[in-house]
């Protein structure tokens, strides 16, 4: 298996896996979405809320804010407290704001971390207050997985695409119809070599419009499922690279536990 990083921006990472089964790449994708533990606010104790939003809406908004940190937290199902919530499996954040003037926006950056968990993004509006309105609350964050609730899913988009293959036959007469009709504009005519060329193969959506419009049927679109591109878009809790590495670690651990249990069965 050959891995190539296609491109990386702040929140997105594209990686090409060559010579890997699509099922294997999909396993990595599903682990990233459902199995990597990240922290999120789970309980909110509202002491005072005179804002125009109900406590429940406020709690839901707080839950959706991506959180960083929490490396020292114990997963609740492995904690000595039995998952009820204690100092080892929960991290506390507080929010206390009283507006002195009208139209004060309370941002996620105002959440004060008492433990190791803190907001990954400080610019998310939580609520808007008029003068005299007050919010005072304590929030408990804990580790969780994407399969439990979407707030613990560390990625927004996480998708796989097979490598598109566009083959141009020798009887192409460079009429240029396909170049014009391609919705993704990936085809071009190379004037020097007098050949039809593909500009950016990964932008091809496999729509086969070029196949349909070609009068000579000289262009064929197919795909190569031995090569897939995985695109990860983090919400900010962990970096894309961290997510990819922990997904592989998790898969290795799962395979080992399967191997151990099968080994145990044949020996015993």
């Amino acid at each position: 298996m050959d891995v190539e990083v296609l491109g990386s921006t702040n929140d997105q990472l594209s990686v090409i896996f060559r010579g890997a089964q699509p099922t294997f790449v999909n396993a990595i994708r599903r682990i990233i979405m459902a199995e990597i533990p990240i922290p999120a606010i789970e309980k909110v104790y509202v002491a005072e809320n005179t804002s125009v939003l109900y406590d429940e809406i406020l709690a839901h908004r707080l839950g959706m804010i991506p959180m960083r940190g929490g490396e020292t937290l114990v997963p609740p199902d492995q904690c000595n407290c039995g998952g009820k919530g204690c100092g080892f499996c929960e991290s506390v954040l507080t929010l206390e704001v009283e507006a002195k003037e009208d139209n004060v926006v309370v941002y996620s950056g105002r959440l004060k971390a008492e433990g190791s968990v803190f907001p990954a993004n400080n610019d998310i509006p939580i609520v808007k207050l008029n003068s005299g309105q007050k919010i005072a609350l304590v929030a408990h964050a804990r580790l969780g997985r994407g399969k439990e609730h979407a707030k613990w899913q560390p990625v927004s988009a996480c998708v796989i695409k097979y490598e598109p293959v566009v083959s141009i036959q020798a009887d192409c007469d460079l009429c240029g119809i396909c170049v014009e009709r391609c919705p993704r504009k990936i085809l071009e005519i190379n004037e020097n070599e007098k050949k039809l060329a593909v500009r950016s193969i990964w932008d091809c959506s496999l729509c086969k419009v070029c196949e349909e419009v070609c009068p000579k049927s000289a262009i064929k679109v197919s795909y190569n499922d031995k090569t897939s591109r995985l695109t990860i878009e983090t919400t900010g809790s962990k970096s894309n690279e961290e997510l990819l590495i922990s997904a592989f670690d998790f898969l290795i651990k799962k395979c080992e536990s399967l191997k151990n249990s099968i080994g145990g069965a044949t020996n015993g």
Partner: protein
């Protein structure tokens, strides 16, 4: 009411980009261009911005100040 923290469909964090979007569109820029520059590519996230109305400003007008309550 107030801009949702995340896109309903894909879960991308969008709350932090609303104020920039609002400022830019009010100043006359094309919303499509603003969304592109903010990195909002998918149409699920784009509709979150285009269809949002900040009703919290309306709700805030009905808030009675504590001092006024005493006077009444």
């Amino acid at each position: 009411m107030i801009i949702p923290v995340r896109c309903f469909t894909c879960g991308k964090v969008i709350g932090d980009k609303w104020e920039e979007f609002r400022k830019a569109t009010l100043s006359g820029r094309n919303p499509a261009e603003v969304l592109d520059s903010l990195g909002i590519k998918r149409y699920c996230c784009r509709r979150m911005f285009l269809s949002h109305i900040d009703l919290i400003d309306e709700a805030l007008q009905f808030h009675v100040h504590k001092k006024e309550e005493v006077n009444a």
